[in-house]
Amino acid sequence: MIQLATSSGEVFSTGAATLRAWPAIDGERLSRVRLQVAIAGIVANAVIDTGGAYLVVDPQLARKSRLHPPVHEDRIVIRGFVYRGMVHRVPVTLIADAGESLQFEATAFVPELDEGEHWPLPSYLGWQGCLERIRLALDPGTERVYFGALR
């Protein structure tokens, strides 16, 4: 695999995955990049969203993943709506198809929904508490995503 390096020669990425993108929700025009991630053992797709916060996990997926007990409650604004939810520390693995998969601890937000309400968005990897903890590079030319640990 192509292994990225910094100008000082330090290894930047230790794993890579295929870059694929399609709209986050039906009827939307803009495409969102997906990655295969393992969240507490379940492999799922998550959208890369550097404008968002936390690893936001669909409540149904969070329930199956048996997350650690929450550390606190929070409220965040997503697409103009305020969501209340619980914040957890979660082991996440970005899954590679070349090189090594990357495991790190992310801060996850699990929205609390009303009875019968469904989470209307994909799970996503936001910046604060998640992507800020790793190195990440995207190459739409070769349709590759590169990642590595922060040193």
């Binding site: 039906d26 997906r34 379940i42 492999v43 149904q60 997926l61 198809d97 998969s101």
Partner: protein
């Protein structure tokens, strides 16, 4: 090589899953077919769709377990 002996696609997917490797072809299948399953939870393996359901509980009941597949909620 340990994975060189794994030939069946389902077995291969399980091996990939257990060893933290991407399920090959899953993202490509989803990019091609996601609109057909809008609103559904889907499980996708290397040969394509394994199951689809309205909830993750129903999907798990339908396919038995989540090993060797990628889960997506196609909202």
């Amino acid at each position: 090589m340990q994975n060189a002996t794994v030939t069946d696609t389902r077995e291969r997917a399980l091996w990939e899953h257990d060893h933290g490797r991407a399920i090959p072809g899953a993202l490509e299948w989803l990019k091609e077919h996601w609109q057909e399953y809008a609103g559904k939870w889907v499980a996708v393996g290397p040969s394509g769709l394994v199951g689809a359901a309205d909830t993750l509980d129903e999907l798990e009941a339908r396919i038995g377990h989540f090993r060797g597949v990628v889960i997506d909620h196609l909202v």
